[in-house]
């Protein structure tokens, strides 16, 4: 019985973790390029709602994910324009994205609240691998999005650390002026990675509304976008560590849901606090400016770059 419980919690951990992993990966590459986008929460909500609406209209889940990524990407583009071209304060611009995204989705989503999504992500066991005891049911009896992240994470890691464009990505986040002098287009790449980060946030949102809890509720992300931003810090902008952080979060979340499901005497309010407190603790443990420098915080994170102002 305990074995089944562990498997159930791990399954929940991966499901919950994946909804954080996608936006966290997106934010990691956005921040690697030197742009901080605190609009993840708003972009996830856009993805969750628009994915859900397209799913209802077309019964096509692939189209739904595309729509979700596009809706979130539009908001990311607004942030990119404000913070890269107009060089507005990135923190405030990101907050504006979140506020705008939550307001707009609350407004547009009103008629849809509570209805079930018609076509949802289903578990696709991988023949053979899913038969392995313990590991099989946890890792290889998942939906396609989870498998996609299994491939995406190592690919992103390879891209960031082992390829020329990945080197350029790190360069524009570390020292944009140097990168610019080397002939690397700082502005265009920052746009690209900010928008790509937005698309991943949208996918994470759609994973919530079409997979994890297949419905639409106003503000359904409940801080997951912010937790993703925190896990990027914990994951030191490294896709593999971000993945570890996301699953760790998922484990805490899955654990508290299980405990609630078993009818614990601890009031659910306190159990619901756990994921948030966990994030505070994890971010605190991995912070400290000197530590961050060693671990690889992009040195120009949050600083706009303009060629004429080069010093």
């Amino acid at each position: 019985v305990t074995g089944e419980l562990v498997i159930a919690i791990c399954l929940a951990a991966i499901a919950s973790g994946t909804s954080i992993l996608l936006p966290a990966l997106g934010e990691a590459i956005t921040e690697r390029s030197g742009v901080q986008n605190l609009g993840v929460e708003g972009m996830m909500l856009m993805g969750a709602l628009f994915g859900y609406i397209v799913d209802i209209q077309t019964h096509n889940i692939v189209l739904a994910f595309v729509a979700a990524m596009f809706a979130a990407l539009v908001l990311a583009a607004v942030h990119a324009f404000l913070s890269i071209t107009l060089r507005a304060n990135q923190i405030v611009s990101g907050l504006a994205v979140t506020l705008f995204g939550s307001g707009l989705t609350a407004f547009i989503g009103k008629p849809f609240v509570g209805a079930q999504a018609p076509v949802v992500l289903s578990k696709v066991p991988i023949p053979g691998l899913s038969q392995i005891p313990v590991v099989g049911p946890i890792l290889f009896t998942q939906d396609l999005v989870v498998y996609a992240t299994f491939i995406l994470v190592p690919l992103l890691w390879y891209f960031v650390y082992r390829t020329r464009p990945g080197l350029n990505l790190r360069a524009i986040g570390e020292s944009p002026a140097t990168a610019d002098a080397m002939g690397v287009g700082v502005i265009s790449r920052r746009y690209l990675y900010t928008i790509a980060g937005g698309a991943l946030a949208g996918a994470g949102g759609a994973y919530l509304s079409l997979g994890y809890t297949p419905t639409w509720v106003e503000g359904m992300t409940a801080g997951r976008g912010w937790i993703a931003v925190g896990l990027v810090v914990f994951g030191t902008w490294d896709p593999l560590r971000v993945m570890a952080g996301a699953y760790l979060f998922g484990f805490v979340d899955g654990f508290q849901l299980r405990v609630q499901g078993l009818g614990s005497t601890i009031p659910s309010f306190f159990l619901n606090m756990l994921p948030y407190l966990f994030t505070v603790i994890v971010v605190s443990l991995s912070s400290g400016e000197r530590l961050q420098r060693q671990l690889g915080i992009p040195r120009s994170l949050g600083l706009p770059y303009w060629r004429e102002e080069r010093t």
Binding site: L38, V78, V92, L95, G103, F270, L277, G288
Partner: protein
């Protein structure tokens, strides 16, 4: 608004009439501005030292919690209003400041990102207040609604005129005046300014950067806490789990639009009070209220785009005159 299929003119007229058309709407607008202004004053203080306290929402809830805790002791014990209300105010400040303490300490001493910590604690605060009103603090006579017992008159701020406006109106006004004086005339205000410009320079000038940051954060959280107290004592007269209509987040926009100046915060808050209040009027025209939030976001986008451009060009002129630009000034 137009794009969403409603007449922009109808919406605009409804907002203006619903906010400023007559004494009753004006008093409702001012009432809506009270929590916004009070939180935003605190937010502005933290932002001035480049501390991004976005925990106003949670600190607001904790302030309401602190005030209610005092009311639950002092109300039944029959404390007179003159004792009870100031104690509630102090408790609100203390609870809000306490909620900002951990993020402030983590940031100033350990360099932990305060954006994440203050934001996570918002969710914890809301859950905590909900736990209380669904559990130990639920009104036994409340037909099982998740509310605390209603406050006695001794724990309520008196009303001004017909609408919801109450004497709590003077809280943000007095606080703004005090802050203006504190920022311009005291050593603390000077230290805030220097730390805000450059923590490095402040360190060389012998300013204790950590304690300056800590004090700014505590004042910031405390102001949001006061706002929570004023809200429960002035408007709803009980504690519940849906105290805030995104006040803490709206306050961030207000503080930024006001360029972190206390007196400007008051003015901008009245405009946003009109937007919140006008939002109700708009919803009576059949246009949903969430559109108000969308409008707020769009205003912020616009001001960020246009407003920051203006500041930068002004700063640029200064920069050409004195070729030693502060990186912090140009990046903001």
């Amino acid at each position: 608004v137009q794009a969403s299929g409603y007449s922009a003119l109808t919406a605009a007229t409804a907002i203006v009439e619903g906010s400023f058309g007559g004494t009753y709407p004006i008093s409702q607008t001012l009432a809506a501005a009270i929590p916004l202004a009070t939180i935003a004053l605190g937010t502005a203080i933290a932002f001035r030292v480049q501390l991004w306290n976005i925990g106003g929402e949670g600190q607001f809830y904790m302030g309401a919690f602190g005030a209610t805790a005092v009311e639950l002791i002092g109300g039944p014990a029959g404390w007179p209003a003159i004792v009870l209300l100031p104690t509630m105010l102090a408790a609100g400040f203390a609870a809000g400041a306490a909620w900002a303490l951990a993020p402030a300490w983590l940031r100033a001493w350990h360099g932990v990102n305060e954006i994440i910590t203050t934001l996570m604690l918002n969710y914890v605060a809301v859950l905590w207040v909900n736990y209380l009103v669904y559990g130990p603090w639920k009104d036994p006579a409340g037909r099982n609604f998740p509310f605390s017992p209603r406050f006695p008159d001794s724990a309520s701020l008196s009303r001004i005129g017909e609408g919801q406006l109450h004497v709590g109106l003077f809280v943000p006004i007095v606080a703004a005046l005090v802050l203006v004086l504190a920022l311009s005339r005291t050593r603390w205000g000077y230290e805030l300014r220097v730390v805000g410009e450059s923590a490095e320079a402040a360190r060389y000038a012998g300013i204790n950067v950590r304690s300056t940051m800590l004090s700014a954060m505590l004042v910031s959280g405390g102001m949001a806490g006061i706002a929570g107290m004023v809200h429960v004592a002035g408007i709803i007269h009980l504690l519940n789990g849906m105290l805030s209509n995104n006040y803490g987040y709206t306050a961030i926009i207000i503080a930024w639009l006001a360029r972190l100046h206390p007196l400007a915060v008051l003015v901008v808050s009245v405009l946003f009070g009109a937007l919140v209040n006008g939002g109700y009027a708009v919803s009576q025209e059949g246009i949903p209220q969430a559109l108000g939030v969308v409008l707020q976001g769009m205003i912020l986008f616009f001001v960020l785009g246009v407003g920051d451009l203006f500041t930068r060009y002004r700063l640029r002129i200064v920069n050409t005159a004195a070729p030693a630009p502060s990186p912090l000034a140009t990046s903001s």
